[in-house]
Symmetry: C2
Subunit: 338 residues, 2 copies
Amino acid sequence: MTPLRTIDWHDGDIVIVDQTALPAELRTLRVHTVEELVAAIRRLAVRGAMALGVAGALGIALAAIRARERGEDVDRATEDAAARLIGARPTAVNLAWGVDRALVASAGGPAAMLAAALAVLAADIEANTAIGRRGAALLVGRRRILTHCNAGSLAAVERGTALAVIGALHDMDELDLVYACETRPLLQGARLTTWELGRMGIAHRLIVDGAAAGLIVGGRVDAVVVGADRIAANGDVANKVGTLAHALAARRAGIPFVVAAPESTIDPATARGADIEIEERDGREVLGFGGAVTAPVGTVAANPAFDVTPADLVSAIVTERRTIVPSASPAFAIATLV
Amino acid sequence: MTPLRTIDWHDGDIVIVDQTALPAELRTLRVHTVEELVAAIRRLAVRGAMALGVAGALGIALAAIRARERGEDVDRATEDAAARLIGARPTAVNLAWGVDRALVASAGGPAAMLAAALAVLAADIEANTAIGRRGAALLVGRRRILTHCNAGSLAAVERGTALAVIGALHDMDELDLVYACETRPLLQGARLTTWELGRMGIAHRLIVDGAAAGLIVGGRVDAVVVGADRIAANGDVANKVGTLAHALAARRAGIPFVVAAPESTIDPATARGADIEIEERDGREVLGFGGAVTAPVGTVAANPAFDVTPADLVSAIVTERRTIVPSASPAFAIATLV
């Protein structure tokens, strides 16, 4: 099966896999105007740093092409589109970055902006393919992989990061089983990762997050592979809440804990993990499950969205360009990885 | 507020807090016959090793008293009740144990069997009170406690084990905050522990299980206190799935990981944790919650009910009789606990 492309350009429109319909249904949205794209971004039909970067770039091209078709002012249309796209998810830095990537080509007109946007899209696919190959090469012989959250194609254009590594191992016939952690509170693992693994034809088991440590320490997992939301200059890794426990278990079991992420995730301005502010999300995400409220009325939740895995627990960070070994125990990392 | 008594004897009947109605409603069941008690056990209105032991003992006394009132054969009635009670939850060893405790007094008639059953009930309360005091004495000065699952009064007659320790710290004015892990897949923490903590007037925050490690390693927790389902002779502890990750995080953070459990939980016939068979439960518990299915149709789950925390990660096991320090790093355990 061809890799899933989460966002693409087709016949003058943006085509998006509507993630709000998953896993029940694979529905594609054909986006003809910037208004439609802004609406899709707002309701999280498209999400994930890399996918949003591409959405921003393609959105500018879309605005320019529609304006030209209608005989409207292209520059005014793209400026207006830029403001509305960035405003759709103000904290998503990649969205603004993608918008800029298309805008810098504006002197060349709509065709040049589309070319710039398609270059962003192609670069994303290339980066993820490289991450997948590099990570898989490190992990040959480790046939049972555990992952957390959704670091798959649904957060990128194609392949994703951790799931790109898993997909490459599968393509090499070097994979037996993937354990997908459900990833409370929002269940991205249960809803999205299982769906992607099923589509890729990869054998997998869904587990509650708390079951991971027992499986890892019990010898049923050969490596942990996750994505990253931000990587500090010292190698500390911020990722979806629940990741740190898997890293602690991996160290206890003596198996590699590998982070797969694009170079853009590495933030040289952040010295260490303790400097990363952890987003505290709405407690209602914790107080219930799938629409049902499970905790007593009045219960207060703490709901950090991320945790920080210290660099010494990270066996390797795999990017599109290099493999970084931040572990304070390099003997462990190198001995077990190479 | 007086401690909650999960199961009790009142005016010739057994009175039970119906756990299936929690946390929405505190409903008590008045149980007049063995048939009613068997039904309550089957639908988990009463659950937990210690509570079931008391239920078994009181059930035999109930059968004897009803038979005497009706002019029926007391011996035949208690024998019949024993078979039906044990059959209600065949794997619950404490249920059979409680039945036996009342049956051994059968020569003395209904009054003697009731006295034996009430002795089981009183001993349970006494044991849990002792566990609470002993654990709290170890943890004075550690004002932010994290716990997992429900090791509270709802699994016992009164106070419970881990929650007995927490309650005793609260009574000593030595407690600031409790983090209650929701405990997927069945959410005993979200549904029951929060309810008990609220009733005890203890400040608490509900968290997803995956958030525990980040809070512990981030310095926001001073000790982890949990119950146990079975303790091997070498000090390895089997407890509700998710416990091991908290123990790993506690070791990383250098804070105590304390297990509160009655002596009856220690199984000298099991040499080590690896010898404990881990119950694999129905995968549907993982695929959704309540009626809601979150994973794609056809997804297969792995659903181990317990995990094993190795003895070297356990700072102390607190029972009604003693404090056991199984840690392979006694310097750590003693230095941080005493």
